[in-house]
Symmetry: C2
Subunit: 300 residues, 2 copies
């Protein structure tokens, strides 16, 4: 089934201890849609400026991603983010953010986007996420991401959003902030009580946790020795997860757990190079091969 | 098969955000032997002073732990450690260490201890670990723990030890320090190349990683919402792991992976209360019940 994602589309500059890349393709909706494209047909909504290279749109289209909802705004500039990773590659600092067109215009959803049965609200202001959600009243499964900025500044809107979505995906520090609890097991359960039917907490190199009314579990990350650039790993996780759910066309507990594993593995490829390079090198077969290895790793 | 552990026997004072306990039963060999006692017969070697409550020895003996090698030294004082946990319960600071008798006398191994087929060198100086190893030349499986202090101050002895043991168990920050690599997958592989046939890296709430010539894997921690006191969790992990190996009487790859899982679960009970209280409440059946739940969690 088709999957709609609304989120940031960006040009990232990334500094790691060994290498720096300037103005590479990035943004939450970009990582998400590329990752999801291994599993299902994806519709991408976002806004960019006229500094946006057409080659980036072509790359996404080459994966079958529908870019009808990617608006190029004349005279505007694309959202830019610059960050630096520390030696351990798990911590980073944001050096510069230029919202540009992202702060000025909202995505407009084409008609066929609004009828999409699977919806993912990637990182963006909570207000925008609520508006997008209202435009897709018939979605069978709606899942959102959030981040510390919105938890701090839009708590009222976020509280409303949490009551209206099916699932929330967020990282460990955001889960602690949102719940006010340092224990992630309690944090996940508390956030689920705020509304969503399920919560997925991303722990980076330590894997991901899942919470629903029925179960709590944790899956480890795939142990890759080759972490080049963790940017977008969380979005690639969400893309692999939602892509698999949309492919399967359901979200029962068993399918959700498989989706968590697919998200984990898709993210493991994403961190093995800068930008989308790690994902561009692979096919669905590579993901499925790693899945066999992963299942073997967890069976005893 | 019987399992010998040599290590610290202590009186700990533990401060957590919610509660403080003074002079409770602790030490690496104590946590280890109690955890291992669910699986096999354990022989404990260590030294204490005459301030050591006889009730502590009786508690260990009540689990079938052989305390013939636990020497009570008249006129000496028992090793004491005081630590404080931060709000997240994963970080702690050491407030006070009094080596006392630990810094003055070495354990003397009774004859039947020296013929033990399974040997664990719990935390202690590398020099002492080497001496104990020499006294047990016939051990079928020898595994050691180490810590930052010995990595920094006894690197030559540690290098020799690593060539003579079968397995090394250490925590994530120690693995990074010993290998000089911030990526734990690469760190584990490098340490294995220093000598031991296998390496287990403990990641606290994030589980444990395993490295041998044949495989690399990671198992998550059991997601307990109830973390009261993490002191001794790493030793309880090693105790559950080595105890299971000794019970099974072998250490093939399959048994090692089961042992890693048993270590993980034994540690999960240990952190649910102060001192040995969490382990005192349970039986082998509770561990096996949690194992079924854990296997279910990891299967999809």
């Amino acid at each position: 089934m088709p999957l709609l994602v609304v989120g940031s589309v960006a040009l990232d500059s990334v500094e790691t201890p060994s290498e720096t890349r300037e103005d590479v393709l990035g943004g939450s909706a970009v990582y998400f849609s590329y990752a999801a494209s291994f599993f299902t047909s994806v519709r991408l909504a976002g806004v960019v400026g006229d500094d946006w290279p057409a080659a980036h749109t072509e790359l996404l289209a080459s994966r079958g991603i529908d870019t009808a909802g990617l608006q190029v705004v004349p005279g505007a500039k694309t959202f830019r983010w610059r960050g630096r990773y520390f030696q351990n590659m798990n911590q980073r600092e944001t050096l510069d953010v230029q919202l540009n067109v992202m702060g000025q215009l909202e995505p407009v959803l084409p008609d066929h986007y609004r009828r999409c049965p699977f919806l993912f609200l990637a990182n963006g202001s909570t207000g925008l996420q609520l508006k997008m959600l209202q435009q897709c009243p018939g979605a069978a499964l709606t899942v959102a991401d959030t981040m510390d900025l919105w938890i701090r500044t839009e708590s009222k809107g976020l509280s409303e959003l949490l009551k209206r979505i099916d699932g929330l995906v967020l990282n460990d520090s955001e889960a602690k902030l949102l719940s006010g609890d340092e224990n992630l097991v309690r944090a996940g359960r508390r956030i689920r009580e705020m509304g969503p039917k399920f919560v997925a907490i991303k722990k980076g190199e330590h894997g991901a946790m899942f919470f629903s009314q029925y179960e709590t579990y944790v899956l480890p990350a795939y142990p890759t020795p080759n972490v080049v650039d963790p940017t977008g790993a969380g979005d690639a996780f969400a893309g692999g997860m939602m892509g698999y759910l949309a492919e399967q066309g359901n979200f029962d507990p068993r399918t959700l757990k498989e989706a968590m594993a697919y998200g984990t593995l898709t993210a493991s490829f994403a961190v093995e190079d800068f930008s989308l390079d790690g994902l561009q090198r692979i096919s669905r077969e590579d993901i499925d091969r790693r899945m066999q290895e992963y299942k073997q790793m967890l069976s005893f």
